[in-house]
């Protein structure tokens, strides 16, 4: 578990000081904390991937603004989003097997869904606290 988490930290975090602080903390985390920590790291990664997509999409929109340039549809943007995720994972993970990349992507998405559900629960609790 620690090795996986170290890999994830290296993958997700760019700030060296933060990276070493996180790796140091692994020695004092219990198993439950490590699992939650892994989820948050995945979330950080997915946020970064999304931002990469936004940058690409902005360039496509700039292109569309030119007379005679192709008009992209929402499906085109969706494809670019998927490609961005794959490119990111390929580059960061070193995996080349398409199936494994797809599996990795699906895993990430399922974690995202869990995180969203987690957020909903927190909102409900917040509402209860607010009475």
């Amino acid at each position: 578990m620690d090795q996986k988490l170290k890999q994830l930290i290296d993958l997700a975090v760019i700030d060296d000081e933060r990276k070493s602080r996180y790796i140091d903390a692994l020695t004092v985390m219990n198993e439950e904390q490590k699992i939650t920590f892994a989820v948050q790291l995945w979330q950080l990664l997915s946020d970064k991937m999304h931002l990469q997509f936004v940058e690409k999409a902005q360039n496509m929109i700039e292109e569309m603004a030119q007379e005679g340039a192709p008009l992209y549809t929402q499906e085109d943007f969706a494809k670019v989003e998927e490609q961005t995720v794959f490119e990111f994972l390929r580059k960061q993970s070193g995996l080349n097997d398409e199936d494994k990349l797809a599996q990795l992507r699906d895993e990430l998405l399922s974690i995202q869904q869990m995180v969203e559900s987690h957020d909903r629960e927190i909102s409900e609790i917040k509402n209860k606290i607010q009475y």
Partner: protein, 476 residues
């Protein structure tokens, strides 16, 4: 250039359109938007407002010198005259125009910023967005996001779990960025280029420098923006009232101030803790074999913007690490405060910048630990909601005796002569409570205090000058 000049003159001489924008764009945020009820229609109106605002600037700037108009500005003047029901291409053009506007608004000394008074000076002489500027920035960003979503089907800010990104976007877009850029551009008076003269690379370099210079402030700004002060305050007040009401039923001596102090560090950590366990359970059941295949080949290009973004996105992770680390340090808030005070002294006397930064990091960590220890007390306070006397007794048993005693003295208006020992104060309280209390609850309080006295006699007292800090304290 004749064509450009003719095109510009034709654009700027559209008298019908000119009259229309004079009515609508003389002052940002006029009546038009307020009259519109339908949301989508309101968005269209706002796009018009934004573009008209820019159009009037271009007309004023170039009406006597149309040949100086850049291609992007010429396109913007044309786009401003689109009437609505925008096609995808038109939306892309509007998006592109807003990028041009955005760039010019980034510099408080650009012609656009100056002419439209987008910035003003604060009391310290620094640039800040004016009221019109705030609305303009908000309007441009709102519509850029809306158009992006229209075209791509994806919300650039809110997709997935992106509340942190929203926070980042707000900090980035809502003014700090502009001021940061203006700071980066201070060289313009000494031969630096104006933002209009910069190419894309130069502009990005200036922007990045602004981010780098203002990293700390941007991060703080973002946090302030995210934790909507009003919202948090209302949650705290509501929780405070509820707790005070519950606690008020029992003479536990916990003053409102004490509860408020706990609430200050409480925020939403308790809610997080409650659901984290459940989430961890779900994840534990999930099979994640691919994690093992991930290797360490990260090749991020580090730029200040990404680092700031990471600061914001990683807050939850930072908190988890702090919580895990807090398990290693003292659980006694007083000891932690003592450490913080020692670190403060060291920081004040440290001449080496690197060492001082290291000490400041240690101090920040100690403060986190303090919050967590206090937060732990806070979570126990919340148990009061069960209205279980046994819980209350346990809670009080886990608190500092001296605090409980001082609180009870305060509650009962007992005046304590300076120098009275804690033992004597507890005995006095016991006598007072025995006379006053008839309920089983007060008996349990007294019993707890008695137990506390016995417990104290078996172990050394805490390293705190109880008499000096609490004896003789009176309700204000």
């Amino acid at each position: 250039m004749a064509n450009r000049s003719e095109a510009a003159q034709a654009l700027f001489s559209n008298s019908e359109y000119n009259q229309q924008v004079e009515r609508q764009a003389t002052h940002w945020g006029g009546e038009v938007g307020k009259q519109v009820q339908d949301v989508s229609a309101e968005q269209e109106v706002e796009i018009h407002q934004v573009l008209d605002f820019y159009y009037t600037h271009l007309r004023e700037k170039y009406s006597t010198d149309p040949e100086s108009l850049t291609d992007a500005e010429l396109a913007a003047a044309r786009v401003a005259q689109y009437e609505g029901n925008y096609s995808p291409r038109q939306q892309a053009e509007i998006y592109s125009t807003m990028e041009v506007m955005y760039k010019q608004m980034s510099d408080p000394e650009s012609d656009f910023s100056k002419q439209k008074k987008i910035y003003e000076r604060d009391e310290r002489g620094r640039w800040k967005l004016s009221a019109d500027g705030e609305q303009m920035v908000a309007g441009v960003n709102r519509q850029r996001i809306q158009i992006f979503e229209n075209l791509t089907g994806i919300d650039p800010v809110a997709a997935g779990n992106f509340k942190e990104k929203d926070r980042f976007a707000r900090a980035k877009e809502a003014g700090s960025r502009f001021e940061a850029v203006s700071i980066a551009l201070t060289g313009r008076g000494r031969g630096g280029k104006s933002v209009e003269e910069m190419n894309e690379d130069e502009f990005n370099a200036a922007r990045m420098k602004g981010f780098q210079d203002e990293r700390g402030r941007l991060t703080v700004q973002a946090r302030i923006d995210t934790i909507s002060a009003q919202n948090l305050e209302s949650q705290k007040t509501s929780a405070l009232e509820k707790m005070t009401e519950i606690i008020g039923r029992y003479p536990t001596g916990r003053s409102t101030e004490r509860v408020r102090r706990v609430l200050d560090v409480l925020e939403m950590d308790i809610a997080m803790a409650q659901t984290e366990r459940e989430l961890a359970e779900i994840i534990r059941k999930a099979n994640t074999p691919e994690l093992t295949e991930v290797v360490n080949t990260a090749e991020y290009v580090k730029n200040p913007e990404q680092v700031i973004l990471e600061d914001l996105l990683a807050e939850d992770l930072d908190r988890m690490v702090a919580r895990a680390k807090a398990g290693e340090v003292s659980q006694n808030p007083e000891q932690i405060m003592q450490t913080i005070a020692e670190l403060d002294r060291e920081i004040a006397n440290e001449g080496n910048d690197d060492r001082r930064r290291d000490l400041e990091r240690q101090r920040a960590f100690a403060k986190d630990a303090y919050s967590l220890v206090e937060g732990d007390v806070a979570s126990k306070v919340l148990q009061l909601e069960t209205r279980n006397v046994e819980n209350i007794t346990n809670l009080m048993g886990s608190l500092d005796e001296a605090d409980v005693v001082a609180g009870l003295e305060e509650e009962l208006d007992i005046e304590v002569p300076a120098g009275t020992t804690l033992d004597d104060r507890i005995k006095a309280l016991d006598r007072r409570l025995s006379r006053r209390s008839k309920s089983s609850l007060l008996s349990s309080v007294a019993s707890m205090l008695n137990k506390g006295a016995k417990k104290r006699s078996r172990k050394p007292s805490r390293p705190r000058n109880v008499g000096a800090s609490t004896a003789g304290r009176r309700r204000p």
